[in-house]
C-alpha cells in the first residue's frame, strides 16, 4: 500500500490545485460588493468580494489596478474580470482581478455613450461654442504628466516651430484614481492666470482604461467652462474621448496639438516679409506711374519750358503789382490834386471875390467921391454960400455989399460982393 502511495508535499498539492483552478475556470466577470479593502503600500490591492450568499478573497496587483479609474471602497458594488487562483503559501483560494468597473454604471463603453449623449444634448459639443485659437499665443499652457512622452513631444515640436515660445506645464496625473480631479483643477488654474493664450490637455496612447479620466464629466465640464481655448490631445489618432468632443480643437496626438497651438515662426516672418514687399511694390508702381504721367505732361506744350512759364507768371505778377501800385499812386495823386484844386478854387474864389469887392468899393468910392460936392473943390472949383448958408447958384440972387463965404478945397474965404453983372 505504502509503495503505491504517491506522497505530495503541501506546496506540491497547493501548486497542483492552483493549476487545476486556473486552467479549469480561466478569466470570468464576477460581480459583488467590496469589503475589507486594503490598499497596500506595495501598490497592490487586497479585498474581499461578497454577495448575499458568499464571499471570496481577492487581490489586484499594481500594474492592473493602475488602470482602475476610481478608488475602491468598502461597500462599493463592482464588476471585475478575474481568474480564480490559489495562494500557495496558505492554500487560500482567491480571485486575481485584472480589471474593475463600478457595477450599475454599465460598461465603460456604455458610460461613454451615456455621457456623450448627455453633454451633446446640453450643446457642449456645438460648433458655435468652439473658440478660435490665437494666431500668436504669448504663453501656452500644457496639462499632462511631467514624465510622459506627451510633454516631451509637445515641447520638442513647440520649440522647433517657435524657438522663443513660452510654455507652462501644469503637472497632472493622467491615469488612475482621481486623475480627472487633478486635470480639471489644472485647467481652471491656467484660466485663473491671465497670461495663457491657449492650452493643450492630454496624454500619450494607452488602453481605454488608461485614457478613462478624459472621459470623465468633471474634465469635460472644466474644458467647457475654460475661457482659454483648449486643444485636446489624448492617445492616438483612433482614440476619441469626451474631452476631444468638448475641446475647441481635437488633435490626434500630442505632437499634432503642438503644431496646432502655434504656427512656425518662419511662417510669420515670411508673411510679414511678403507684406513689406507688397507695400513697397505698390508704392513703387504708383511712383513710376506718376513719373510716367509727369514726364508725359512735362513734354506737353504747356510745360515744355517751365522756366519761361514761371518767368511769365512772375512777370505777370510783377506787372500786376506795378499796375496795382500805380493805380494806388494814381488814386492818391488824383485825390491830392483834387484837394489842391479845390483849395486853389477856394483861394481863387476868395481872392477874386475880394478883388471884386475891392473894385466895387473903389468904384463906389469914386462915385461917392464924384457925388461929394467937396470933391469937386479939389479940381479947383469952389462953393460959395450966402450968409444964410444957402449955396449961391445965380448972380441975380445976390446984392452988392452982401457978405459971402467961399469954400475952397482947403480952407474958406470971406468976401463982399462989389457989383453984379
Amino acid at each position: 500500500m505504502n509503495s503505491e502511495r504517491k506522497i505530495y508535499s503541501v506546496a506540491e498539492v497547493n501548486r497542483k490545485a492552483r493549476m487545476v483552478l486556473e486552467s479549469g475556470i480561466g478569466e470570468v466577470w464576477v460581480e459583488g460588493e467590496l469589503s475589507r479593502v486594503t490598499l497596500h503600500s506595495s501598490g497592490h490591492w487586497y479585498f474581499t468580494l461578497k454577495d448575499a450568499q458568499a464571499s471570496v478573497s481577492c487581490a489586484m496587483f499594481r500594474n492592473d489596478n493602475a488602470k482602475v479609474p476610481f478608488k475602491p471602497k468598502d461597500g462599493m458594488k463592482v464588476q471585475m474580470l478575474a481568474r480564480p487562483s490559489l495562494y500557495e503559501v496558505s492554500g487560500r483560494y482567491q480571485l486575481i482581478a485584472s480589471a474593475m468597473e463600478e457595477a450599475g454604471k454599465g460598461s465603460l463603453q456604455e458610460q461613454f455613450e451615456k455621457l456623450k449623449k448627455k453633454l451633446a444634448d446640453e450643446g457642449l459639443f456645438d460648433a458655435s461654442r468652439k473658440k478660435p485659437l490665437p494666431v500668436l499665443p504669448r504663453k501656452i499652457g500644457v496639462v499632462t504628466s511631467p514624465t510622459g512622452a506627451a510633454i516631451r513631444d509637445i515641447i520638442n515640436v513647440l520649440t522647433r516651430r517657435f524657438p522663443n515660445i513660452g510654455i507652462l506645464l501644469v503637472p497632472a496625473k493622467v491615469q488612475g484614481v482621481g486623475a480627472e480631479n487633478g486635470i480639471a483643477k489644472a485647467i481652471d488654474y491656467l484660466n485663473s492666470r491671465g497670461d495663457i493664450d491657449v492650452m493643450i490637455v492630454g496624454r500619450g496612447g494607452g488602453s481605454i482604461e488608461d485614457l478613462w479620466c478624459f472621459n470623465e464629466e468633471i474634465v469635460a465640464r472644466a474644458i467647457a467652462r475654460s475661457e482659454v481655448p483648449v486643444i485636446s490631445a489624448v492617445g492616438h489618432e483612433i482614440d476619441f474621448t469626451i474631452s476631444d468632443f468638448v475641446a475647441d480643437v481635437r488633435a490626434p496626438t500630442p505632437s499634432a496639438a503642438a503644431e496646432l497651438a502655434i504656427r512656425e515662426k518662419t511662417d510669420f516672418e515670411t508673411e510679414l516679409a511678403l507684406y513689406r514687399r507688397r507695400l513697397g511694390q505698390n508704392l513703387k508702381t504708383m511712383e513710376s506711374n506718376l513719373r510716367l504721367r509727369l514726364n508725359r505732361a512735362a513734354h506737353s506744350y504747356v510745360f515744355r519750358e517751365p522756366q519761361n512759364l514761371l518767368l511769365r507768371h512772375r512777370q505777370n505778377i510783377q506787372g500786376l503789382e506795378a499796375q496795382m501800385g500805380s493805380l494806388l499812386r494814381f488814386g492818391v495823386q488824383q485825390a491830392q490834386q483834387r484837394v489842391d484844386e479845390i483849395g486853389m478854387l477856394l483861394k481863387h474864389r476868395t481872392e477874386s471875390r475880394l478883388a471884386m469887392d475891392r473894385q466895387r468899393t473903389e468904384k463906389l468910392a469914386a462915385q461917392l467921391r464924384m457925388l461929394n460936392p467937396l470933391a469937386v473943390l479939389g479940381r479947383g472949383y469952389s462953393l460959395t454960400y450966402k450968409a444964410d448958408g444957402r449955396v449961391v447958384r445965380r448972380a441975380h440972387d445976390l446984392a452988392a455989399g452982401e457978405r459971402l463965404t467961399t469954400r475952397l478945397a482947403e480952407g474958406k474965404v470971406i468976401s463982399t460982393v462989389e457989383e453984379i453983372e
Binding site: R138, I155, T159, L272, R276, R278, L283
Partner: protein
Amino acid sequence: MAEKKSADFEKSLERLEQLVGEMESGQLTLEEMIKHFEEGSGLVKSCTKKLNEVEQKIEKLVKKDGELSTEPFGIKEQPE
C-alpha cells in the same frame, strides 16, 4: 489682457491685408498711397517686434508648502 495682446497681432495682420488690398486696387491717390504705406510699414515693424517679444521660458508649476510657484522645466533631465 492676454487676449487683447494676442488679438492685437491678429488684427494687425488683418489690417495689413486690407491695406495691401486697397493699394492693389489702384483706387488710391498718391497721398492715400503714402499713408497706407506708412501705416503698413509701421504694422510690419510692430508685428516683427511682437514675434521676438515672446519670452522663451519653459516652466513647470510646483506646489511648495501649499504655495503655487513655477520653476524651469527641462525635458532632457526627465526620465524616459
